[in-house]
């Protein structure tokens, strides 16, 4: 079975982002970039499924700038077999889903695994949108994936606990935090990844229109909270909560 794993290049999760002074976005120049953490979980899950023998080939893909090759190399070092970069800047989830649909039609995978959300726009939409465009089943927020020849049993993180659904293949799975802990690529695997095939395409090659639907009117700093006071004891805390804040 072939698997497609889309990944996204995002500002590293440790970076404290700054809003640009002109209000057009956030500062991304000279900032450390990494693979979206939820996509790392997706790559790891794909590699584990291959190690179990149910998956024969893993194709990592990304839609982004030329530098997103770095994130594809990371996926290859973790265990993906080959990679495809579709060069495009600033595509929205709907546009990304359309590119992915074109790649799915070309590559014919039985399963697509991707992160539940990217930590830059926090949109949480691409996986569900791709499932819609393909007419496939979807198992979002997965904490467990059991794959068989004709289906995937997916345990999902939902409000208040867990839910399990059975998906007919082909299917889309989006990953949540507890699905696995991604491995670090070893140095020999990083070296090997440099020789793995990486194909570069343009969105237009796939016949996809990426014209954005949303206009960013402005981006601003959210209102800041002021630090309050330190209290010296538990009794002082309780008394302030009762008489000053009046919340208990």
């Amino acid at each position: 079975m072939k698997l497609l794993v889309p990944v996204k290049r995002v500002v590293d999760y440790n970076v404290k982002v700054r809003v640009k002074a002109d209000g057009t976005g956030v500062e991304t120049a000279n900032v450390k970039m990494s693979m979206n953490p939820f996509d790392e979980i997706a790559v790891e899950e794909a590699v584990r499924l291959k190690e179990k023998g149910t998956v024969t080939e893993i194709v990592a893909v990304t839609i982004g700038p030329a530098q997103a090759q770095e994130q594809l190399r990371t996926a290859l070092a973790m265990g993906a077999d080959r990679a495809i970069l579709v060069e495009a800047e600033g595509a929205e989830p709907l546009g990304v889903a359309k590119v992915l649909k074109a790649l799915v039609e070309r590559e014919q995978p039985q399963l697509v695994i991707l992160g539940k959300q990217a930590i830059d726009d926090d949109m949480n939409a691409t996986g569900q949108m791709l499932a819609a465009l393909l007419g496939w089943s979807q198992g979002t927020y997965a904490s467990k994936v059991e794959l068989s020849a004709d289906g995937a049993k997916v345990t999902r993180e939902v409000d208040g606990g867990l839910e399990t659904v059975q998906l007919k293949l082909p299917a889309i799975v989006t990953t949540d935090l507890r699905l696995n802990e991604p491995r670090y690529a070893s140095l020999p695997n990083i070296m090997k990844a440099r020789k793995k095939p990486l194909e570069t395409l343009k969105a237009a090659d796939l016949g996809v229109d990426l014209t954005p639907r949303l206009t960013v009117v402005k981006v601003e700093e959210p209102p800041k909270r002021q630090a309050g006071v330190k209290v010296g004891s538990v009794s002082e805390l309780v008394s302030k909560l009762k008489t000053e804040a009046k919340v208990i």
């Binding site: 956030v26 939409a125 949108m129 839910e163 949303l214 959210p222 909270r225 630090a227 909560l241």
Partner: protein
Amino acid sequence: MAVLVLADRSGATVSQPTRSAVAAASQIDGDVHVLVLGGAEAAQAAAKLAGVTKVIQADGPAYEHGLAEPAAALLVALAPNYSHLLAPGSAMGKNIMPRVAALLDVQIITDIAAVEGADTFRRFIYAGNALATVKTADAKKVLTVRAASFDPAPAEGGSAAVEAAPSAEDPAVSSFVGAEIAQSERPELTAARVVVSGGRAMGSAENFHLLEGIADKLGAAIGASRAAVDAGYAPNDHQVGQTGKIVAPELYIAVGISGAIQHLAGMKDSKVIVAINKDEEAPIFQVADYGLVGDLFKILPELEQELG
């Protein structure tokens, strides 16, 4: 043109985040309809919500568990009658609405925090570190609502008619197997008036129970930081933050939580924040109204006693 809100059921009623979504919808248009999947009682509860003018109830096994594929197909069938389709940003809303949007060839706007106009909305990006105002060129709008940003519509005040949903095709590509939903006497995390959350410094899953006595006395829900969830001290559905739940209670008590950016994204709209941490440099103190520096294992029993 009317607007439609997909409801999240909560037993025999609709969830509080659904009422927040109704409040957001009311800011867009005065004619607010609510779609309830399964649950005749919940449909009756939705009909009483202030501002709701019609309730559509969908019966049938395909809708009982809120599976995304049939639910999205039904919303698409209803879509021609509406300018906007909304849902709370709950696990259900986030699962279903992007699918609806793609089927309609619309770019969804998730987790809206403010309505600036019929086509312009505000939402947080980068774990709450930036607030974006976006305007959509799509004729039809598909949105999910950040419940913490909208006061819930009152549960009483409306008297809408309930009608049956039209039939829609069930793609039948998935099926419900089962659910393990924790049975708790505590309020739901996103609806609680008080939230007590623990972080990595709690040290173990057993120690996490220390929060229960305090939560009992305050009628609070229990939350956790991502670090505590990662360490296995608390289940994932307790997670507060960028990748978990967003809460805005009257009182938020952060115990042994350092205050990573992604945690602050989930709780900084709380009215009053209390931080208990042994590290006085912890970033959580920068957003806390009241900070108490010290050993949480000494402070927690004392606090429980003090709350009487």
